[in-house]
């Protein structure tokens, strides 16, 4: 079971992109075996203080341990999979993530 927390700042294009990319990745590679919480730092600054969130978007992988931090809008799919220890699918990565144009 993957427990992921996504910290974002307001409803910006970058926020939308990060949310889309995260759900997209998890659907494809974790097949329902995940739980995502989205925290808007503007609404809950004390939660950001607790986790020392500097850059947004940031994903914290709370489980499985060890904790990991992924900074950015998650457009680097290969990087995300590697950081989350998700094995690469043999047929190659379908990269449909949204990237900043």
């Amino acid at each position: 079971m993957y427990i992921l927390k996504l910290y974002v700042t307001g409803k910006t294009v970058r926020t939308e992109r990060a949310i889309y990319n995260l759900y997209d990745l998890c659907d494809k590679y974790l097949a329902g075996n995940y739980q995502i919480t989205i925290v808007d730092v503007l609404e809950n600054p004390e939660l950001a203080e607790e986790e020392k969130i500097l850059a947004t978007p940031t994903v914290i992988r709370e489980l499985p341990l060890p904790r990991r931090r992924l900074v950015g809008d998650l457009s680097d799919v290969r990087g995300v999979l590697k950081a989350l220890d998700i094995p690469f699918p043999s047929e190659g990565i379908e990269d449909e993530s949204l990237e900043q144009k």
Binding site: T9, G10, R17, V41, E49, A55, T56, G72, E99
Partner: protein, 503 residues
């Protein structure tokens, strides 16, 4: 003119002409160990003590380390946090492994800072240090863009911010990673320079856009009870009141030579080679004060208390009794125990606490070897200004390096700011060594121009007749005149013109 926010850091507001530009961001740049964090904490601590809440954004040290390190200055940060007068925004390094997977901004940090400022209604903010942000993120382009956004957000929040950054050398680029580009309006530089094997801390306001400040480097020190203390030196204005009141030098003969004694708020320099009787003149000056019921303070940097007391007894001056009566305080220290800045603070606080009307320093030149030439000059100027400001009499002794003739560095530095200069010299007199005393300068008064014989016995100092037939005493190049020549010279300038004194 831009409004300034007083920092209340001792001496700093003088050189900053009132404080930091209000509502602006000021860069505080310095090399490792230049006291940036202490200065920044001092800024917030003074704010708290004057009713202004402050936010400390730390990129480097952990809040618990800062709380512990600053307790030594008497700043109870944990207490202030509980009272909502101080808050940390902890942006220090996170132990979790971190990877960058796409584009990002510092929205999280910004939101936390804004939240903290609003929660405490903070007026002051510190970011320590910008350089550390660069080590947390590899993409410096994004970091620079985000820091620029951060500093403009601070302006919008209306806080007066102090942002620190590292620099690699004392006299080079303003800061590492050219961070001054984001906060270009105001720049302060802290230096910790090694000069002649001695450490010297200085602070310089490099620029304040749209408002004034003092130029150049000013020395500062960090003390346990006050934190940062800047020595404003030239910022001290020469506006001391001047008094016509005369005080006794302790010797009736010397008073007579000075035209009736020293002025009450004057600085007297007694210069001479070792053994010419400088300590005796200082002792006599203090004993004269005590005899009038005045409080006197002596700083001794050459001899121990015991030695001084024994010497004084030899001249029939009872220091222990004077101390017991509460009219004398003797502070004897080795010059090497601390730097000049700390000596200066110590002397000032002793004077402020004891409130004497006479202060003697024996000798000022012993302090020369503690600091650099420039540092010593600043020390002397600051000290004399302070003493004049207190409207008390100060007598300093200075030891000349040569036994015959010559001047000391001390003399060179302070001769123009002293009101009176007394020279003590050895005089070779037909194969015998005698002592001579002359008054070189007595501001605002006529004085005896002779070089008179100065003798010392069990009752103290005595001033005798002028040396009439020896010349070249001051330079140490003696020549002797016979009686006829002397008479001729004496009569040479006598004519019908009235004497200068009768004008």
């Amino acid at each position: 003119m831009l409004e300034k926010l007083p920092t209340y850091i001792e001496g700093f507001d003088h050189i900053a002409n009132g404080g930091l530009p209000k509502g602006r961001v000021t860069l505080l740049s310095g090399s490792a160990g230049s006291a940036k964090t202490v200065f920044a904490c001092n800024f917030l601590a003074q704010g708290v003590q004057h009713g202004e809440a402050g936010i400390f954004v730390t990129f480097e040290e952990l809040p618990e380390d800062i709380r512990r390190n600053m307790r030594g200055f008497g700043w109870d940060i944990a207490q202030w946090e509980a009272e909502n007068k101080w808050a940390f925004v902890d942006a220090s390094y996170v132990p979790d492994s971190q990877v960058v997977v796409g584009s990002y901004d510092f929205g999280g940090l910004l939101a936390r800072i804004e939240h903290a400022v609003r929660r405490l209604n903070a007026r002051r903010l510190v970011i320590d240090s910008l350089s550390a942000v660069f080590s947390q993120f590899a993409d410096h382009g994004t970091v620079r863009a985000e820091l620029l956004r951060l500093t403009s957000a601070l302006k919008a929040l209306g806080v007066t911010a102090l942002v620190t950054s590292e620099r690699d050398s004392e006299y080079g680029a303003v800061a590492r990673h050219s961070v001054e580009e984001f906060v270009a309006d105001n720049v302060i530089i802290l230096r910790n320079v090694l000069e002649d094997e001695k450490r010297r801390r200085t602070i310089e306001v490099l620029k304040f856009r749209g408002t004034s400040h003092r130029k150049g480097e000013f020395p500062f020190t960090v003390t346990p009870d006050q934190g940062v203390v800047v020595m404003p030196l030239s910022a001290i204005e020469l506006k001391q009141k001047s008094s016509d009141l005369r005080i006794s030098s302790g010797s009736a003969q010397l008073d007579q030579m000075c035209g009736g004694g020293f002025f009450r708020d004057s600085i007297i320099l007694v210069s001479g080679a070792t053994g010419t009787g400088k300590t005796l003149v200082a002792t006599t000056f203090l004993a004269g004060g005590v005899a009038q019921g005045e409080r006197c303070l002596l700083f001794a940097f050459e001899e121990s208390r015991e030695q001084l007391f024994r010497n004084a007894i030899g001249w029939n001056v009872d220091f222990p009794r004077m101390e017991a009566d509460g009219l004398l305080r003797v502070v004897a220290e080795y010059p090497e125990i601390s730097g000049l800045e700390d000596h200066l603070l110590r002397i000032k606080s002793e004077i402020s606490a004891y409130r004497p009307t006479r202060v003697a320093i024996d000798s000022l030149s012993a302090l020369e070897r503690v600091g650099t030439r420039r540092g010593f000059r600043e020390f002397v100027i600051d000290l004399t200004s302070f003493i004049k400001h207190e409207e008390i009499a100060g007598l300093f002794t200075a030891t000349t390096p040569n036994l015959l003739g010559g001047t000391s560095i001390t003399e060179a530095h302070i001769s123009t700011i002293t009101d009176s200069i007394i020279l003590l010299r050895y005089v070779e007199y037909y194969g015998e060594m005698r002592r001579g005393l002359t008054i070189l300068k007595m501001r605002g008064s006529l004085h005896d121009k002779d070089i008179r014989e100065f003798t010392i016995d069990g009752t103290g100092m005595h001033i005798g007749k002028p040396f009439r037939n020896v010349s070249g005493i001051l330079s140490g190049q003696f020549s002797y005149l016979n009686k006829d020549e002397l008479d001729r010279l004496t009569n040479l300038f006598q004519d019908d013109a009235p004497d200068l004194a009768d004008r």
